[in-house]
């Protein structure tokens, strides 16, 4: 029995990291938004690792924040340890990572959702997507209630037909024993959507009281914690931090795994889904890096509320008895009591190449999706897509052009472009190496890159925008001043240089040139720079980076310029590839299937050659010209 219930502008299915961002974005853009979750107690749940950020993922969080998303602020409120990673490397790969108190993180996000105007939450399983002429018309829940709406964002995470497995033990549940969503896949298939089956996994949780920390190395947080959110004040963020611990697997561990590998459902074929290569289970690592004597194991607290410790680096789907042997072979875990077993989870997701860059389905107007449902892995990847999908679902209702961020603007752009353009058959994980222009896409300048966009969309308020403009202005003025301030080779200067092991001056130079020296920085030159005005650390950081890496930045910018040329050659949505002369058949098929939005994107589709692109370029030139001519007539 179905019946029609309330209408909404935007319906979001799933309240994980993607769904939360999607729902908040839509509601904050003043759209009447409904967020469905299978359990009100699992909002923004972290079913795997207890941290946010890390290499390249930290960038995503910063970008989410710069656009007006919630993840950064939420982790700032609920972190229990924080660290800037890779500080010995270049600024492009500095990445922030914070350990979260899982429950606090979830509760805090729930509080935000529950107090956001225009946002309604409901515990219910959505079982059907309703359409009319390939347009979204509503959703139906398990109880038969129909909610008419204008756009839908699917953020079902790992819940669709989920199956948790370790050894021979199989549970037909979502993560943490939560109810799986077993109906929606059929509805999606009816709409002609192509589904994949992926798998991922999580390690065991071990009782803190059973761990011997004296055999491990303690891992402290940073002395001064840097916030994720550009809106969080650093001084308000500092607190006492909780340690993590480092230990290692050994030959015994590997021997146990090898001896039991035939009992792993991944290896004996019980699991059909494809797992992430870059977030491998310990079984995978032992097989793949057969000559490695040991692998790192980080012991991380799940929160302040619990004794459960997360065993990072040892996710597994081996049987329970093997898990005991395996974990207990690791120094410090000899007497480990496993609170929750490690397990692998299999779930339905989509082939993301069915999506446009806006994260709207090409085949169903008004249907958007984000997160693990799109074949990615990770909280941050999910949140980033959720934010974009939410924004664009809202913009669809408002009849605005979608927000599309390209590869040269943000990791978010790289993430989405990779998902919708490159064929992947495993959960997609963000990595530094995927961003071609990473020197420009640093975590420290996410606000300078994206906050204007957030403001234009309507997710960034006037005050924050003005603050950004002022920051930009200060950076520019101060950089110019440094470049035009001469420094003579006087005694005071030479002494300062000597003090920092920098070679003395033969002739005069500028402050900017001194800052460029690796051993010097803006801060160190204070005594010889008399006309300096008070500037924030954020501004100084940008000045240092801009000057020190000037040449590299310029070269990267010129690479971006080349990239943009092809990216800006848009392909009209109504192009008929059948009428483009002399395209190869394979290229024609791929182009028809994937409907790339620009020449640049088309060039990244496998099976489309440079020659095909050239044909297309000329065809477009002609087409463009003809259409313009028609307009004139």
């Amino acid at each position: 029995m179905s019946y029609v219930y309330e209408s909404y502008d935007v319906v979001v299915v799933g309240a994980g990291h993607a769904g939360c961002e999607a729902a908040l974005a839509a509601a904050r853009l003043s759209l009447n938004t409904m967020l469905f979750t299978i359990s009100m107690d699992s909002i923004a749940m972290m079913p795997c690792n207890p941290n946010i950020g890390g290499t390249s993922k930290g960038h995503l969080v910063r970008e989410i924040d710069a656009l007006g998303g919630e993840m950064g602020r939420n982790i700032d409120k609920t972190y229990i340890q924080s660290k800037m990673l890779n500080v010995s490397k270049g600024p492009a790969v500095h990445s922030l990572r914070a350990q979260a108190d899982k429950q606090e993180y979830s509760k805090s996000m729930r509080r935000i959702l529950e107090n956001t105007p225009n946002l309604t939450l409901k515990q219910a399983e959505v079982v059907k997507i309703l359409t009319e002429d390939n347009h979204i018309s509503g959703v139906m829940t398990y109880s038969g209630a129909i909610y008419p709406c204008k756009s839908v964002v699917l953020c079902t995470g790992t819940y669709l037909n989920a199956r948790c497995i370790y050894g021979e033990t199989v549970n037909h549940t979502g993560p943490n024993g939560l109810q799986a969503a077993t109906h929606l896949t059929d509805s999606l298939k009816e709409l002609g959507i192509e589904m994949y089956r992926f798998k991922t996994g999580t390690p065991a949780r071990i009782d803190r009281r059973s761990i011997n920390f004296s055999k491990m190395e303690e891992q402290f947080g940073d002395e001064t914690v840097v916030p994720f959110s550009f809106t969080t004040k650093q001084e308000e963020l500092q607190k006492e931090q909780i340690s993590c611990w480092l230990t290692y697997t050994n030959e015994t561990t590997h021997e146990i795994i090898r001896a039991n590998i035939d009992r792993s459902p991944l290896y004996c074929g019980d699991i059909k889904g494809t797992g992430p290569r870059y977030c491998p289970s310990i079984e995978d690592k032992v097989v793949k890096f057969a000559d490695k004597e040991r692998h790192q194991v980080f012991i991380e607290p799940e929160g302040l509320y619990t004794n459960e410790m997360y065993i990072a680096g040892m996710s597994s789907s081996l049987p329970e008895d093997v898990q005991y042997q395996m974990y207990r072979s690791v120094p410090g875990l000899e007497n480990a009591k496993i609170v929750r077993n490690a397990y692998a989870i299999e779930y339905d997701c989509i082939n993301p190449m069915q999506l446009k860059s806006s994260l709207e389905f090409k085949a169903v107007e008004g249907l958007f999706s984000g997160g693990q449902f799109n074949g990615s892995s990770g909280y941050e990847e999910a949140a980033a897509q959720g934010l974009i999908a939410g924004i664009n679902a809202a913009r669809k209702v408002l009849q605005n052009e979608p927000l599309i961020i390209d590869r040269s603007e943000a990791y978010i752009g790289v993430l989405i472009d990779d998902l919708v353009t490159k064929e992947t058959h495993e959960p997609y994980r963000m990595m530094t190496s995927r961003a071609e222009y990473r020197l420009l896409l640093r975590q420290d300048n996410a606000d300078l890159r994206l906050t204007k966009k957030g403001y234009d969309i309507g997710l960034i308020d006037e005050e924050r925008y003005q603050h950004l403009l002022e920051k930009e202005n200060q950076i520019e003025i101060e950089t110019n001043r440094l470049q035009s301030t001469p420094i003579g080779a006087n005694k005071e200067v030479q002494q300062l240089l000597e003090q920092y092991g920098s070679s003395p001056l033969n002739t005069g130079t500028t402050l900017a040139d001194l800052i460029r020296r690796p051993e010097l920085s803006y801060e160190l030159l204070e005594s010889i720079d008399k006309n300096r005005s008070e500037l924030s650390d954020e501004v100084i950081e940008q000045i240092n980076i801009n000057l020190k890496y000037d040449g590299y930045i310029k070269r990267q910018l010129s690479q971006v310029e080349q990239f943009k040329k092809l990216e800006n050659r848009r392909i009209p949505e109504d192009i008929d590839y059948m009428t483009v002369p002399s395209l190869r058949i394979e290229a024609r098929q791929k182009l028809i299937k994937f409907q790339p939005r620009s020449i640049g994107q088309a060039s990244r589709i496998s099976g489309v050659s440079p020659a095909d692109i050239s044909v297309l370029l000329v065809y477009l030139t002609q087409l463009h010209y003809e259409r313009n001519k028609e307009k004139i007539i």
Binding site: S433, Q556, Q559, K565, L566, P581, A611, L617, Q622
Partner: protein
């Protein structure tokens, strides 16, 4: 959309007392500002009205290159609908080339053949119907497009470039993998390895560059082929022109069995002179190959100098040669005028329309007349050389240079102790630039191809 600024010699490198260098693009005026000096030194061209002409000098720093007239034309009322600057300079290859190179040095890039027209087309200046056959050309060229640009490279070079790119990519992949998985992939000792690789790669590219330079000079000069029967004095002529013993000169007919090439600068005119085996019906296999080659080269020549020994009778071999040069730009040299003549210019004149000059290479008589004759032909516009090839090479050369610079920058990063993640930026540039040479990098290539049908600088 099109942002970079292009430049080319618009008049062809050959004849005329004036040559024109054309610059088009957003930075055209900016670039001329950097290299133009007025007589008083006060005039700034960017402040001048559109469609005006200005007297002054092209300079590179303190060095004055030439006295010129500069025409400023601002968008959109120009051929390309972009800002255009034209520099009229004194003709002559060296000066014209110098000015072009200065323009490139100060921010323009060399235009592709037909690129001005392409821009005119893309900017809506030219009606598409004016390039009606465009679509057909594309269709026909789809398969050939890549090959076309590839053919200009010798197979060996292409292979070297492919291997270079593979090596560079391997290093990029290694750095990137280590960044993402520092636990399992260590960068220890990588700096030394990378420096070694860069060194090897640099050597290979420099080698290619040298070869492309050689190639360029050969192709750039006026391809001048010396023909004649054995022992007519062809090699002596070459040696005299070059001023050194390059070809082996003996009294034994048939000494030059292959071809010998030399570049000669004849008062600013580059001649690429090819001495050939004497043409005669021969049984000697090696000499026969040489003869065949000579005939083949002659068919591709811009200018043929036919050397006759005036002290011997004409025979059927001369008839063959006269047949060969019938439709070519040629000069006839009656050599050995110091000896008793068996043939006279009057006799020859009946058999050919080409100019005839009497000389004695041995006694150094008449060589001035030869030089004068060549110069006249050149300046009357009867001779010019293949500009397309010149450009192709220039593009390749430019790409080689850019990739060398990128590799140098990688090395600089290593020496400066930069973190490894910085290496990829320039490694990637080197990889992509090399890709352009072999057509593996997508640019607006095919559109270029079409407009290559147009002439350079047009």
């Amino acid at each position: 959309m099109i942002t970079d600024t292009i430049a080319a010699i618009a008049t062809g490198l050959s004849n005329a007392g004036i040559s024109k260098i054309r610059i088009s693009g957003d930075h055209a005026v900016e670039i001329i500002d950097r290299i133009y000096k007025s007589r008083t030194g006060n005039k700034v061209l960017s402040e001048q009205l559109s469609h005006t002409i200005h007297y002054g000098f092209i300079t590179d720093g303190d060095h004055i290159i030439d006295e010129v007239m500069v025409i400023i034309m601002r968008a959109p009322a120009t051929y390309t609908r972009e800002d255009i600057v034209e520099i009229d300079c004194h003709g002559g290859i060296v000066v014209t080339r110098n000015i072009l190179e200065t323009v490139l040095k100060y921010g323009a890039r060399i235009a592709e053949p037909g690129e001005f027209t392409k821009r005119a087309f893309l900017n809506g200046r030219i009606d598409l119907s004016q390039a009606e056959a465009v679509s057909d050309i594309i269709t026909a060229k789809n398969e050939l497009a890549l090959q076309n640009s590839l053919n200009q490279l010798r197979g060996k070079e292409r292979q070297i470039i492919i291997e270079l790119r593979e090596k560079i990519l391997r290093d990029i992949a290694f750095v990137e993998a280590a960044l993402d998985d520092p636990e399992h992939i260590s960068l220890e000792g990588f700096d030394e390895d990378l420096q070694k690789h860069i060194n090897e790669e640099t050597n290979s590219i420099e080698q290619l560059l040298r070869e492309s330079d050689n190639g360029k000079i050969l192709k750039e000069g006026i391809k001048t082929v010396i023909l004649g029967k054995p022992n007519a004095g062809k090699s002596s002529l070459l040696n005299t022109l070059v001023g050194e013993e390059r070809a082996i000169v003996t009294d034994i007919a048939g000494t030059t069995r292959d071809t010998v090439e030399e570049t000669i600068n004849l008062n600013g005119i580059m001649l690429n002179v090819i001495d050939t085996a004497g043409i005669r019906d021969t049984e000697d296999i090696i000499e026969k190959i040489g003869v065949e080659k000579a005939i083949k080269i002659a068919s591709q020549a811009d200018l043929i100098i036919y050397v006759l020994d005036s002290s011997t009778e004409l025979d059927e071999n001369d008839e063959v040669i006269l047949g060969l040069i019938k439709d070519k730009k040629s000069l006839l040299l009656l050599n050995k005028s110091d000896l008793e003549p068996k043939i006279t210019s009057e006799e020859i004149k009946k058999m050919t329309d080409h100019a005839i000059i009497s000389i004695s290479i041995k006694e150094n008589i008449g060589l001035n007349d030869l030089e004068k004759a060549i110069k006249n032909m050149f300046f009357e516009g009867k001779l010019s050389f293949n500009e397309d090839i010149y450009i192709t090479n220039e593009r390749h050369k430019e790409a080689f240079k850019q990739s060398l610079e990128s590799l140098r920058l990688v090395n600089q990063s290593i020496v400066a102790g930069m973190p490894e993640d910085f290496y990829s930026i320039d490694l990637m540039s080197a990889y992509e630039t090399l890709g352009k040479i072999i057509g593996e990098n997508i640019e607006e290539d095919l559109v270029n191809m079409i407009f290559k049908e147009f002439c350079m600088g047009k």
